[in-house]
Symmetry: C2
Subunit: 144 residues, 2 copies
DNA sequence: ATCAAATCAATTGTACACAATTTAATTTAA
DNA sequence: TTAAATTAAATTGTGTACAATTGATTTGAT
């Protein structure tokens, strides 16, 4: 009789990661709807707010997304007027993404989101900080 | 001059959750390929290995998935011969999912996956246990 | 200088994920 | 007791995600 204890859902690390990630994204939805952004578009804009201008390649590295995902996201954000896409003069392979004025203005409207999300999370600050630290440690040590 | 510190990617909790979740699922892929399962199909099978028989509704509650996601996953698993789908006699609205013999046998082949995944994660046991505990706490206190 | 290897964005194909709606069955309440 | 409300699965539509491939450009080794 084999022991399948390690195959129980409650013993996995992957499963609560997967569930928490999905549910957090779902909690963002009503807030992001007001900005006409999906979650993926939101984190893309967060990267752009920090950097003003990035190549698609750099964005992919920052966001852990490949071109198959980013290409349509960036085209959508361009259509919405939040970024511009243009080929690099230096290297025609590279696509430069730049924040537009509307994209910059959007940051003001997004400024209240982190606090609003914080109110949805009913955990004390110490636990949240530990969780944040361990997730980053996990990213740094166990990915790629 | 507004302070957008709270909008930085590195200050979000959602973003490392999202990245870790995706990257863990990606790490599973080569192992799950051998069983001809996707990650979503894998956690569905984990639930079935624990319960033998569940309604689609119960599965959705356990896995935090709605019928829009589960319906095609369950049809695929039925096509692969791992589960059977049949309407409940008591309540024709309800769909009963049962593990087949092939589905049961698959558990043996999956038994080595948790250990193989463990070897990919280069964090000490205490951190992993803390992470596991905090993710479950997060799920319990901050979702729905 | 030249051409093979590498790089980058885009495309293709498969599989979620979820909101919203639909359809059918069951339960509840007037 | 039957009409309204609820429940459950399926469907529809949109938007990721990612592996694999393609096509254009650049780099690097000879």
């Amino acid at each position: 009789m084999a022991n399948y204890e390690q195959l129980r859902l409650s013993n996995q690390l992957c499963f609560p990661l997967y569930v928490c990630s999905k549910e957090v994204v779902r909690k963002y939805k009503p807030l992001l709807d007001e900005l006409d952004l999906t979650y993926t578009q939101y984190i893309t804009m967060m990267a752009m707010w920090e950097h003003e201008q990035l190549s698609a390649k750099e964005l992919g590295t920052i966001l852990y997304l490949d071109s198959g995902t980013l290409t349509p996201v960036l085209k959508t954000l361009e259509k919405k007027g939040f970024v511009e896409r243009q080929r690099s003069k230096d290297d025609e392979r590279s696509l430069i993404i730049s924040l537009t004025q509307d994209g910059k203005a959007l940051q003001d409207r997004a400024a209240s989101i982190p606090e609003a999300m914080g109110k949805c999370i009913d955990m004390d600050l110490e636990d949240l900080q530990t969780l944040h630290r361990l997730l980053h440690k996990f990213m740094d040590t166990s990915i790629k």
